[in-house]
């Protein structure tokens, strides 16, 4: 660890933190010198901040990338570290200032750092093969860019599979103007998935043995239970649909808890990262999903969470009980624990094969009960992205039967979800947002309503095992395994409403439609059925044009799609108050759109942020000229 790294052990907010100069110097003195800190991960309490030097308008950071032996979950591991830790130390920037970050590569392979969600000159974006050649072993690369935005972000390697090996960390940009909400403590909660296997071995297993890591497949027992619950005829009809498509209704995550240890700030549930608070304080949690392959469902039993930021951008506050965070997405929530007790921050993997857990407590060493994991949910017909009527299955019949399966958490299996903007489910999800005035904004109409979808003459070819013939609006659907009820509000994309109008309010001049495609059997992932190696050249955007990007998910998986270098303003039900994001998660059979103004010229990466999907070819370059 660099000796100038600072431990912000008490999570006091920036304002209070700066007032407490004494405590800061004490902390720096205590922990700033190496030796006192164990040579592993982050401290048990608080966050570890990277030390910086200030030169005029510029903040300067030094980072070194190494392979460092350290225990993870009590077992020997050899992760890739930044300044000796996993996660990498928190980099704290200030909006309006400039930054220089010198990155030294001590590995015996190339590395890189991508500043996820930051808009900057493209040569500084850190994607080898797209924006720069990468950082060779022994070399130092200096990133320099102006910081002209604020919020919670993260940074990670964009080289090979290094992200899986620990090369990721949080990045916070403090705003130039005061924030529109108050809080007393400020903690990063960085979620990740760690494997003791070589990630290349993981990737190969996915390639050669479909379903290798899934130990929750359907068995004969499930079939018998279905027959008991739904009757022979209905069960056979459902199984026939999945069978005809050769798809699994239990394929939620490709890599599961059978190999992963899930971490919060580098610590397993047993190592219990802890955020301290005093009863009555407001605690800001910056939840960053820095995992390679895992969608997490996050809740803190006993506490309501108020979502104030999504992907670093302020949104109208939404009180929720739970939210799903896709890979690479971030949500900032504020909680107000009033009791003098511990609370568990529980982040369950979407497929329920494991969980990450940490604690909010009034003193170190306390912890609360860890909730029981819920049963693995099963995908329903909604994930096929087709017109249910057309499949000779009455909607009523289907939804009744899907709800009937009591052994599955069938909340998400409601095929109506997202079927119709004015439908009952949609309205319920929207109106149930804790009494806030979050109604649909006046005169709003979903721009993709009634859109004709084309999959090309060959349905995207061998690279696409299925197409969504009738993709749906699913922004009001909390996703598989989650159900939003009056007692348990789950965040949906339709809840996100920008606090202010974004500067460019032009109508889109043109549309670009891309389909998310895949073939599970051979672990092929692509856009429009073509892997990166199979397309000819980049996707071309015109500098400062206004365009609508339309994404259609033709697969059975959820995909977090990340666009570098420009914001995607999600066209949800809030009309002009589009929330803007750097990563958009699409459910199976979902179609959504975003308005984009490519403000920065250059070549930008555009990819699925599931690491092995990206590496399998679900990657494009967007050229802005």
């Amino acid at each position: 660890m660099s000796t100038s790294d600072i431990l912000t052990g008490d999570g006091l907010s920036r304002r209070r933190f700066l007032r407490n100069v004494t405590s800061m110097s004490v902390l720096a003195a205590l922990y700033g010198t190496s030796g006192l800190l164990p040579a592993w991960a982050w401290p048990r309490t608080g966050n570890l901040e990277a030390g910086k030097r200030v030169e005029g308008d510029t903040d300067i950071f030094d980072l070194t990338i190494d392979r460092t032996p350290m225990p993870i979950d009590g077992k020997d591991a050899r992760p890739i570290t930044v300044n000796g830790t996993v996660p990498a130390p928190l980099i704290r920037l200030k909006e309006g200032r400039d930054v220089r970050i010198r990155v030294t590569n001590n590995l015996d392979e190339d590395t890189s750092i991508h500043w996820h969600g930051i808009l900057l000159p493209f040569e500084m974006d850190g994607v080898p093969g797209v924006t720069f050649p990468g950082i060779k072993p022994g070399e130092t690369f200096e990133y320099r860019y102006p910081v002209r935005q604020s919020g919670t972000y993260w940074y990670h390697s964009h080289s090979g599979l290094q992200e899986q090996e620990g090369h990721y960390g949080p990045l916070i940009v403090d705003p130039a103007e005061p924030e529109p909400y108050d809080y007393d403590r400020d903690y990063v909660v960085m979620l990740s998935d760690w494997t003791f296997e070589d990630p290349h071995a993981v990737f190969r297993k996915l390639k050669v043995a479909e379903g290798y890591y899934n130990y929750q497949k359907r068995t004969i027992k499930d079939l018998l239970e279905d027959i008991k619950a739904k009757g022979w005829e209905q069960t056979m009809r459902e199984r026939a649909m999945w069978g005809e498509m050769r798809m699994s209704s239990r394929d939620l995550l490709d890599v599961t808890g059978s190999t992963y240890t899930y971490l919060v700030n580098g610590r397993s549930p047993a190592d219990n990262w802890t955020g301290l608070f005093r009863p009555g304080e407001k605690v800001r949690l910056r939840v960053i999903n820095g995992s390679a392959m895992t969608f997490f469902d996050v809740r803190i039993p006993g506490l309501k969470m108020t979502v104030v930021q999504a992907d670093g951008q302020n949104v109208e506050p939404v009180p929720v009980d739970e939210f799903r965070v896709g890979v690479a997405e971030t949500y900032d929530v504020i909680v107000e624990p009033t009791e003098d007790r511990a609370y568990t921050i529980f982040a369950e993997a979407m497929d329920r094969s494991g969980y990450a857990a940490a604690t909010l407590a009034t003193r170190e060493g306390e912890r609360a009960e860890i909730p029981k994991r819920r049963p693995m949910p099963e995908r329903g017909m909604e994930s096929m992205g087709m017109d249910h009527g057309g499949m000779d299955m009455g909607d009523d019949e289907m939804s009744g039967d899907m709800d009937g399966g009591d052994e599955m958490a069938s909340g998400s299996s409601d095929p109506h979800a997202g079927h119709d903007m004015s439908g009952g489910d949609q309205a319920m999800n929207g109106d149930d947002s804790g009494g806030m005035n979050m109604g649909e904004d006046e005169g709003y109409e979903w721009p993709l309503a009634g859109r004709e979808i084309s999959h090309g003459h060959d349905d995207h070819g061998p690279g696409a095992a299925m197409v969504a013939s009738d993709p749906q609006n699913r922004m009001g659907d909390p996703g598989i395994g989650l159900e939003s009820t009056e007692d348990h509000k789950v965040l949906v994309y339709d809840d996100l409403r920008a606090l202010a109008l974004w500067p460019d309010q032009r109508e889109p001049e043109r549309e670009v439609e891309l389909h998310l495609t895949g073939n599970m059997e051979r672990y092929m992932w692509s856009f429009d059925g073509k892997k990166f190696s199979e397309v000819d050249g980049p996707i071309r955007f015109k500098h400062n044009e206004r365009l609508r990007l339309i994404l259609v998910n033709d697969t059975m998986m959820d995909h977090p799609i990340h666009l570098h270098g420009m914001w995607m303003e999600l066209e949800n039900r809030h009309g002009k108050y589009r929330p803007r994001k750097h990563t958009l998660s699409l459910k199976p059979g979902e179609m959504l759109s975003a308005q984009i103004t490519p403000e920065h010229k250059g070549d930008w990466a555009f990819h699925c942020h599931l690491l092995y999907h990206m590496d399998a070819g679900m990657f494009r370059v967007v050229s802005v000229a």
Partner: protein
């Protein structure tokens, strides 16, 4: 010698394989103009990998004789184009002598739709001991893939060096009893268009075979199993077998391991 007769197809095959496995001449991919000018490598190069799978490696105990039976597939390549070597056979270990390499194929496989690949190449068959060895070479055309309802299908059209044609068909299905316990029924048949007395092949449907194996996946890569396999010869083939004093019905208990690397 069959080697001579298959020389020509093998040369053809070699050419196809070399072409198939040569990385696409990096003219077209998704790189931006800047990366091309700089000559940088692709940010997400295609993965080439391979696998060696022993689908069956088993001791088969029958009424008259016991044998060690084997079936394997090895492949190397990318997502679309692959070089495949596969084969199956049996070696008698008690109650008799000799054995057979029923097939040993070298194939180029190409994915033509999400679940199906076509294969073309050369094959080899050998019957050894007791008595003189017989062998022959084939040109092989195959269709392999996953049919609806997850049936693994493997069909091969073979034309021997003497112009005799036959079709093999095999299907298998994995029924998951628990997360690690898998019951696998399989069935197969073979149809010949000409009689080939030397190999005991009659015209028409030669045989039907069926098997049922119960395996336990200690790891995905290593799964011991027990089961039964049954084979019944039919029609002219059965007559030929009877003439040689063999049973036309063969039921065996098997124990073995399915494994891959």
């Amino acid at each position: 010698m069959p080697i001579q007769t298959i020389k020509h197809p093998s040369r053809w095959l070699a050419t196809v394989c070399v072409l198939a496995l040569t990385p696409t001449l990096a003219l077209a991919d998704g790189r931006g103009d800047y990366a091309r000018e700089q000559g940088w490598d692709s940010p997400v190069p295609d993965m080439r990998t391979g696998m060696l799978l022993f689908d069956r490696l088993e001791y088969a105990a029958g009424d008259d004789e016991d044998s060690v039976d084997w079936e394997f597939q090895a492949w190397y390549g990318g997502d679309i184009n692959r070089l495949v070597i596969e084969g199956e056979g049996e070696h008698v270990v008690s109650g008799g002598d000799g054995g057979e390499i029923e097939s040993l194929d070298l194939l180029y496989g190409r994915l033509i739709s999400p679940y199906w690949s076509v294969q073309a190449g050369v094959g080899y068959q050998l019957e050894y001991g007791p008595g003189p060895d017989h062998d022959r070479g084939f040109a092989v055309l195959g269709l392999e893939g996953l049919a609806p309802y997850w049936f693994e299908i493997d069909t091969k059209l073979r034309v021997s060096e003497d112009g005799d044609a036959s079709v093999d068909f095999e299907a298998e299905y994995d029924m998951r009893l628990t997360q690690r316990l898998v019951l696998q029924p399989r069935a197969g048949t073979s149809v010949a268009f000409q009689e080939v007395e030397e190999f005991g092949v009659g015209q028409g449907v030669n045989h039907v075979k069926a098997g049922l194996r119960l395996r336990y996946e200690i790891q995905r890569e290593f799964a011991p199993y027990v089961g039964v396999s049954w084979k019944k010869q039919l029609g002219d083939t059965a007559d030929l077998a009877r003439e040689e004093g063999h049973d036309t019905d063969d039921l065996r208990l098997v124990a073995g391991v399915r494994m891959w690397f």
